[in-house]
């Protein structure tokens, strides 16, 4: 028999969104946080450059500008009422983080310091604006640490290193989760009135990615298996500046401080494509032009990478070209960007102060995910019907605030704003609801069956080999550039890999700390998510934001100014729903 626990509210995942929800929910009801990692291992901690909010600490700024930039950056697929909420509430959210103890860098007056970031502009001058609040280039680390510190202060209940493998959803209502305790291999039933999912992204379906090994989309895949849909899965962000071959992120903050892209001719090519914002154009655009340079033979030495140049003297030259009076030196960069300078030194053997750094786009962020409304309630279909007691926030959710392409820093804004909203909404709900009955003896069986099938399967395929083939294929066919033919081939390949996954064999048949088992289960999640990603990408016959179809190279607002909603009940089915447009009409995207 599994162990049984009962809470008013459960939070799955202990990154920024989960911990923010926990801080607010646990003040209002009996709450537990369940995470497959120790909370401080969560991927929020790797966010580098900043969290945007129109504080206006260094120059004029307005939340309405932040909202407009977010919508334009998202290629007009964002739901605009949600964007307004995010950008308006971002200001108080950042102030709250400071009050909680977050050590932001400071301006000479002692206020929170801010820097420029891609796509964030003064809407009057169209020039880059200082909006990203930062703590060196470890802003995400400081957010994660600060939230966890406050959870300790508030005595929040944690179940660390418990991996959730199933959601108890019945008749449109969620009654909690089933989890495996990694230390023992035992199953636990967590029975609750409310459950909030905050498990982050699923970038591990690609090989070159900034994502952690743990980002395998466990909850989105479980949503699909429970007959519920995902939204906008064709939109995955490829960040332009990953460490060549490894994909480790080098923050956009480098370009915020003045770094530029160079091709093999030593040309600052973004100035040619985007004359106003140049290297600070949004990520989808930079990634596409990097690949265009490479395709046209201007990759470094004809290879598949370009340079990110942040040598101080070069930055000063470009600042002068751009009419910016600011000048910097090596010490300044070592203070403002210590971590990414070290990444280049450690992983590439390149000293960015002295030489340009080889970079290539890296799979980074899921704009799509579990559909929610503006209060983080999970939606059951394209009509907006809510699953009672189920919430999602942060990267795992699709509100949609990011539309077809997320602006830099907005992931952190999203998780603090919607983590808080979700935590409060869930607490309000559970305080007025009663616990629904479940069959305590049977509740864990569907989750357990998935794991036992893998543990006992006596096939011939190694999960590690299947994972490698999936990642290689996704890089090639479901990357920055996509075609109908390539996507059809991708779907065939995924089906072949799913068939082989049914014939796997793992080496570890034990129970305690069996990561052979949990990794194989995670691979099954990635395969399902890859399938709906490729199908959604094939469905969207246009190019918008992070989704570029070479066979349909322009945006098609007549036919595709709408969200995709995808189910996988046996076969994949796609429906759509309209984009909520309030203030800002779609227009051509120029920078």
């Amino acid at each position: 028999m599994p162990q049984y626990h009962q809470f008013d509210a459960l939070i799955v995942g202990a990154g920024g969104a989960g911990l923010m929800a926990a801080l607010h929910a646990s003040k209002r009801c009996k709450t537990a946080v369940i995470s497959k990692l120790y909370p401080t291992r969560s991927h929020t901690g790797t966010a580098q450059g900043g969290i945007s909010a129109a504080l206006g600490n260094l120059e004029e700024d307005k939340w309405e500008w932040h909202a407009y930039d977010t919508i334009k950056g998202g290629d007009f697929l964002n739901d605009q009422d949600a964007v307004d909420i995010m950008c308006r509430e971002a200001i108080d959210a950042v102030i709250d983080l400071e009050h909680m103890g977050l050590p932001f860098d400071r301006t000479p007056e002692g206020k929170i310091s801010q820097r420029r970031f891609g796509g964030h502009t003064n809407n009057d001058t169209h020039k880059a604006v200082m909006r990203a609040c930062h703590a060196a280039d470890r802003t995400g680390h400081m957010i994660l640490q600060t939230l966890y510190q406050n959870c300790i202060k508030q005595n929040v209940t944690f179940f660390d290193e418990f991996q959730v493998v199933d959601l108890m959803v019945e008749a449109g209502k969620c009654n909690g989760v089933v989890a495996v305790e990694l230390k023992t291999g035992e199953h636990h039933v967590f029975h609750s009135k409310g459950t909030l999912l905050a498990t982050g992204g699923f970038g591990k379906m690609w090989k070159v990615t900034s994502n952690a090994h743990s980002l395998t989309g466990d909850m989105p895949a479980t949503i699909l298996r429970r007959g519920l849909p995902l939204e906008d899965m064709e939109f995955f962000q490829f960040h332009p500046t990953g460490v060549y071959k490894l994909g480790i992120l080098l923050s956009e903050a480098a370009r915020g401080e003045g770094a530029v892209f160079l091709n093999d001719k030593g040309e600052r090519f973004m100035a040619r494509y985007m004359p106003t914002l140049k290297d600070l154009a949004p990520r989808d655009i930079c990634s596409r032009y990097i690949f265009q340079e490479i395709r046209e033979g201007r990759g470094i030495n004809g290879k598949d990478y370009v340079y990110l140049d942040f040598r101080p003297e070069e930055i000063n030259k470009h600042l002068e070209e751009d009419g910016n009076p600011k000048r910097i030196d090596a010490h300044y960069l070592e203070t403002k960007l210590p971590d990414i300078i070290e990444f280049a030194r450690v992983y590439q053997g390149v000293d960015p102060i002295k030489e340009p750094v080889p970079i290539q786009p890296t799979a980074h962020y899921a704009m799509g995910g579990i559909p929610t409304n503006n209060d983080a309630e999970v939606l059951a279909d394209e009509t907006g019907r809510v699953i009672e007691g189920l919430y999602a926030a942060g990267e795992v959710a699709c509100v949609s605030v990011h539309g077809a392409n997320r602006l830099g820093t907005n992931s952190l804004v999203d998780l603090v704003v919607f983590g808080k909203r979700g935590g409060i909404k869930m607490a309000d709900y559970v305080n007025g609801a009663s616990l629904r009955e479940i069959n305590k003896g049977d509740a864990h069986k569907a989750g357990e069956a998935q794991l036992e099938r893998i543990r006992n399967n006596n096939g011939t395929e190694r999960p590690g080999a299947i994972r490698k083939e999936l990642q290689k294929m996704m890089d090639a066919d479901v990357g920055v550039y996509r075609t109908g033919t390539g996507l059809e081939e991708a779907i065939d390949k995924i089906k072949e890999l799913q068939a082989r996954f049914a014939k796997i064999k793992i080496d570890d048949k034990g129970f305690k700390w069996n990561t052979d088992l949990t990794e194989a289960w995670e691979l099954g999640c990635l395969l399902d998510l890859a399938e709906v990603t490729a199908f959604s990408a094939l469905w969207r016959c246009e190019s918008r934001g992070g989704h570029f179809r070479e066979d349909f190279p322009t945006r098609d607002d007549m036919n595709f100014l709408k969200h995709s909603i995808v189910w996988k009940n046996g076969k994949v089915e796609i429906k759509d729903k309209p984009v909520r447009i309030t203030r800002i009409q779609p227009q051509e995207r120029k920078y």
Binding site: T40, H43, P103, G110, M142, N150, R467, K512
Partner: protein, 238 residues
């Protein structure tokens, strides 16, 4: 290049005691040690068990004892720890109970972390204008180094005082205490210093410097501990 990984293995369900096992594999010199471990797990032996997540030195999951020194497996490149044809010896960090292979019980480590009140305490009313508290650039700079800590335990589990006595709060917890004691916004320095003046507090540090050498974030751990000792000795926090 071809290398051998000599790994300390222990499975609580089948083994009475730990044993060494060797694996040979082909790697690039610039691969991370973590890449080699994952390659073994994926291609040779799925039972190999370790914690890992971000794979670039930020999440703090994969501290291990590599050739006798604490490092993050994702931050140690093969070429920095082995010659062509060489052997890399890897075992779990010391001083915490081994649960399986490289996975140790982190709970005693986090218990020490919680002892030092690792959170900002400030009971003054918030600014009435609804904005941030002000802090000078110099005041912020004062505790910058210790904000880098990722709680990987590389420092604490390299410390002979901690090996000798697990009740010692350890360098990581002192680093966390330092981060708040020297934050001009904080008001609980005295409470933290009281905890650290206990017999299992800061005085068990014998300035061996293992912690500073082990820190993958480059934190001057021994210096931070020294500043806490000074604050206790002088009663002055500056």
């Amino acid at each position: 290049m071809k290398i051998t990984l000599k790994l300390k293995r222990f499975n609580p369900e089948t083994d009475k005691k730990p044993y060494w096992k060797e694996y040979s594999l082909e790697v690039d010199p610039t691969d991370r040690v973590l890449d080699a471990l994952q390659e073994i797990k994926w291609s040779q032996d799925g039972t190999l068990t370790l914690r890992r997540s971000c794979a670039h030195g930020i999440c703090g999951s994969d501290a291990m004892r590599i050739n006798g020194r604490n490092m993050l497996a994702c931050k140690a490149l093969i070429q920095d720890v082995s010659e062509e044809g060489g052997t890399i010896t890897i075992e779990p960090i010391l001083g915490l109970p081994v649960m399986k292979d490289m996975v140790v019980d982190m709970e005693p480590f986090f218990a020490h972390y919680r002892e030092v009140m690792p959170y900002l305490v400030n009971n003054d009313p918030l600014p009435t204008n609804g904005r941030e508290r002000l802090q000078s650039v110099a005041d912020r700079e004062r505790f910058d180094d210790t904000t880098k800590c990722i709680l990987c335990a590389a420092c604490t589990t390299s410390c002979p005082s901690f090996w000798a006595r697990g009740e010692y709060v350890g360098p990581a917890a002192i680093v966390q205490a330092h981060r708040f004691i020297f934050d001009s916004r904080d008001q609980a320095a005295q409470e933290r210093l009281e905890v650290l003046s206990e017999p299992d507090g800061v005085w068990r540090c014998r300035t061996v410097f293992n912690c500073t050498e082990a820190c993958p974030r480059g934190i001057q751990v021994t210096k931070a501990i020294g500043e806490v000792k000074d604050a206790l000795r002088t009663g002055v926090i500056e």
